[in-house]
Amino acid sequence: MPNIVEVKNLNAAYGQSKVLFDISLAIKPNERVSIVGRNGAGKTTLLKCMAGLLTPTNGSVVFNGMELGQKPPYEVARMGLKYIDQDKHVFLDLTVRENLQLSSYATNDYDWDKVFAHFPKLKILIDRKGAYLSGGERQMLMIGRAILGDPKVLLIDEPTEGLAPSIVDDLVTTFHELSKDCAILTVGQNLSFVSRVAERIYAMKEGKLVAEVTDEAEIKANSYSCYL
């Protein structure tokens, strides 16, 4: 099966300080991949480069057979590569409905039933403002509004950060269900979560990918933590 995302020799820098060094990775359709690494390893930078929010100094991101190049982030999102930030920031002044409307408007996908199928709670909260949602509800809304427009890849930055353990359990199920429709790339430091979700793991250290773990037993055993 051809890869849905291919990152080739990606380098990135903030001003003069280099952050990413020759990153190459590939994701297959409907695959659940995780990138693990410590703070400052460059995980978020990598995701932002893939989503078009940062311009890499060189290297390329190929999505669905197309070079993303200098495409602005909104075009990348419309093509089906959605990025979910780590700060759990929903629009505070907007209701859940308006949050979803914005995403529907952008992608011309008004089929909210699939959102409610994954997150029934959002249907109840539909007229509540973002400011009054809990952390878990915000994460639901962020994922919910991202799956509108049937993305082929979700890039999710630190999905479990700041969430209660019971909600993390729900997320594991959700991610398994979501991967029936799209590939999921998460980055994070929560190794127990990663080992329950990921089919394949990249370890990242100081801006480089240092290891790739594909063996299921190894993932279950958290043995990749030695690379961090």
């Binding site: 903030y14 001003g15 003069q16 300080s17």
Partner: protein, 328 residues
């Protein structure tokens, strides 16, 4: 080259060379350039070193100018004392106004600053019209008596004096920008005020002091201006001319040592030449501002500094954080 220019001897030599240009260029032009460069020094310092854009500089120019003007009109005849009074008046006002303005973040600072300039204009034009004679202004020519050592009532005298003052101001700012801890903390305020606060500095004091220094220098320029033109009227505080200080700063390179001098030389030169051909020359000022802002915001001196820095360190990477936003 750069090291030489920013040494004390370098500064003095630059000004002596400029002084000798008197044979080639009209003295009136050079005097104006020097007074304007002192005026723009404060604005350039605020923009380049503190990250505070001041569209209200005419107000601070006006306090110095009126300080000198009112002294000469009502009290004394000595131009030296008048300049001193102007500087003191502007110092006092800045200390007071600074406590209000400096608390604000940079957007609010600019807006309040410009509003303050308009209020100052009305203060001198309407509210205090009994004493300032509004738009007609204070005519001082008959009040000014010749002064000892350098006679400030003669064209040559004020020319020489303005140069001496400029050298003093430049030596002071050179010390401030390059050698003092205060200068470094100012840059930190611009870069990340919160981090500086975490380091244990009271950023309010730093900004307040910088504000007072920068605008008192503007006041000094105002006092010189009064003595040079032998008159002062409310138009000096007109907010329409607020662009001048900012344009000079940006043109020359904000926060650089010689930026204000190069900026005012070009600015006043262009003004004199262009206004012979086209009547409304602010089109050109606007155009220059847009070009400088879109071309990297570094101004002439800033770009030259970068150029020399690159020549010197061929191949070796530059220090990131500062050069990145160094121009502004």
């Amino acid at each position: 080259m750069k090291r030489f220019l920013t040494s004390s001897t370098g500064i003095i030599i630059v000004f002596v060379l400029l002084f000798l240009l008197k044979g080639v260029l009209p003295a009136a032009f050079l005097t104006e350039v020097v007074i304007y460069s002192i005026y723009a020094m404060g604005c350039s310092f605020l923009i380049g070193r503190l990250g505070l854009t001041s569209f209200g500089q005419p107000a601070f120019l006006a306090f110095g100018a009126y300080g000198a003007g009112i002294y000469l009109y009502y009290f004394g005849t000595n131009s030296y004392v008048a300049i001193l009074v102007g500087v003191l008046a502007s110092l006092l006002i800045n200390m007071l106004v600074g406590t209000f303005l400096v608390r604000l973040n940079s957007s609010y600072f600019t807006l309040c600053n410009q509003a303050f300039c308009v209020v100052t204009f009305f203060l001198f034009q309407k509210a205090l019209v009994k004493w300032t004679f509004g738009d007609n202004g204070l005519l001082l020519i008959s009040r000014m008596k010749p002064t000892p050592v350098i006679d400030l009532t003669t064209t040559n005298g004020i020319y020489l004096f303005a140069f001496l003052v400029a050298i003093g101001v430049w030596l002071f700012f050179n010390y401030l920008l390059k050698k003092s801890v205060f200068g470094a903390t100012c840059l930190c305020v611009k870069d990340n005020e919160q981090k500086l606060r975490f380091l244990g500095y009271n950023t309010f004091n730093i900004k307040w002091l910088a504000f007072v220094i920068a605008n008192t220098v503007a006041g000094l320029a105002g006092a010189l201006y009064t003595v040079y033109f032998c008159m002062v009227n409310a138009n000096i505080a007109n907010v329409s001319s607020a662009s001048e200080a900012v344009a000079i700063s940006m043109l020359g390179g904000a926060g650089t040592l010689f930026g204000p001098l190069v900026g005012s030389f070009l600015f006043i030169g262009l003004k004199d030449i262009v206004s012979q051909f086209i009547s409304h020359w602010e089109v050109l000022v606007g155009f220059l501002l847009i070009v400088v802002m879109l071309a990297g915001q570094k101004g002439i001196v800033g770009s030259l500094e970068d150029f020399f820095a690159k020549q010197k360190s061929e191949g070796t990477p530059q220090t990131p954080a500062l050069t990145e936003e160094g121009g502004l």
